[in-house]
């Protein structure tokens, strides 16, 4: 978990993604995440996950400090690295700048909390190495103009990144670091690429990205 957070620390922040959130709960019955966000010139990320019924587990990145409130143990993770030059939310950028949206990281962390059999059948727990591989991949292929992927867990303990926009269907299933399947389709041009590899992704990412 901390590795994921630390990767977020190293990502290029986009002001569009910066926000603050009061320490109010949201999430599902298995987890509650409080107080995460990015603000001003600093990047904040803090995760507090409730494990039913009453215990809590805190995930913090390196350099985090915990803060106590009058109600309960609370915390915030403060990344002290200063973002030197805010990036315009409308800036055009090529892919591969290492940009991973904050909401995407949050979703990854939620997936890591899924129990065995989360799909009501026999799905495996999501493996951290697959999440890390997904984060690494996104860092390589995404730019500020790339919309965040929809992230879904796979029954084998992997993750699938999906984009369905601008007439493009793009799916990347990561079942292990060495088993990554790509599928790309342009429904307007009736063009399908099923066995592409990462090197062929760039044109597809460009087609779904804002310019």
């Amino acid at each position: 978990m901390s590795e994921v957070l630390e990767k977020e620390e190293n990502s290029i922040a986009n002001p569009r993604e910066w926000y603050t959130r009061a320490l109010s709960p949201w999430g599902d019955s298995h987890s509650m995440i409080t107080g995460c966000g990015k603000k001003e010139m600093y990047v904040f990320a803090a995760y507090r996950v409730r494990r039913p019924p009453t215990s809590f587990e805190t995930y913090c990145a390196r350099g985090a400090r915990k803060v106590r409130t009058e109600r309960a143990v609370c915390f915030r993770t403060i990344y002290r690295r200063r973002v030197a030059t805010p990036i315009s939310s409308k800036a055009t950028a090529p892919t591969g700048l290492g940009y991973v949206p904050f909401e995407t990281v949050k979703t990854f962390i939620e997936l890591l909390e899924l129990p065995h059999g989360w799909n009501s059948y026999s799905a495996k727990q999501i493996r951290k190495e697959n999440v890390n591989a997904a984060v690494d991949l996104l860092r390589r292929i995404m730019g500020p103009g790339t919309p965040p992927p929809t992230i879904v867990p796979t029954v084998a303990g992997g993750v699938q990144l999906e984009w369905h926009t601008k007439g493009i269907n793009l799916e990347i299933a990561i079942e292990s670091a060495s088993e990554i399947n790509f599928f790309a389709e342009d429904v307007r041009k009736n063009e399908v690429s099923e066995e592409i590899d990462e090197s062929a992704l760039a044109p597809w990412i460009d087609r779904i990205s804002e310019r």
């Binding site: 009501s120 879904v152 796979t154 099923e194």
Partner: protein, 140 residues
């Protein structure tokens, strides 16, 4: 032209022709498998919702005709699975994708069946086709 189901499926989970092509096969969809498809302008299941189980068993579904014949609500198969949605595809569509539809009643659910066939490698389209064609019975 429809390819024949694999010999494994034909042997272990043979297609049951008494399940009509128009019969709905119900599949529980967990909340994290519901995606918004901007191209279709609607929420639908992810293709990952129509993969085989990882314990080696083919994909589980529930036969709507069985539920109807037992005067049960289709949503009965969601009992105990709060937050899940229920999607339906037809048996005919599954068969057209080289899948078998094999009734497989289990003690806790008489309508249980399996859809057997390759959904991954060369026919990775199978899961995607099922996902795009799925109709919500119980919306997310």
């Amino acid at each position: 032209m429809t390819e024949a189901p694999s010999s494994y499926c034909a042997e272990h989970y043979p297609d049951d022709p008494t399940v009509a092509d128009g019969a709905d096969l119900l599949r529980r969809i967990p909340p994290n498998h519901v995606i918004y498809d901007e191209n279709l302008k609607q929420h639908r299941p992810s293709s990952q919702a129509f993969r085989d189980d990882r314990d080696g068993d083919p994909m589980s579904v529930y036969l709507s005709p069985v539920l109807v014949s037992e005067n049960r609500e289709l949503s009965a198969v969601l009992t105990g699975h709060q937050g899940f949605a229920l999607a339906a595809v037809t048996a005919g569509l599954a068969r057209s994708l080289s899948q078998t539809v094999h009734p497989d009643p289990i003690p806790e659910e008489s309508s249980h069946a399996v859809v057997c066939g390759d959904k991954e490698s060369g026919s990775r389209r199978v899961a995607r086709t099922l996902a795009k064609a799925a109709v919500w019975v119980v919306r997310p």
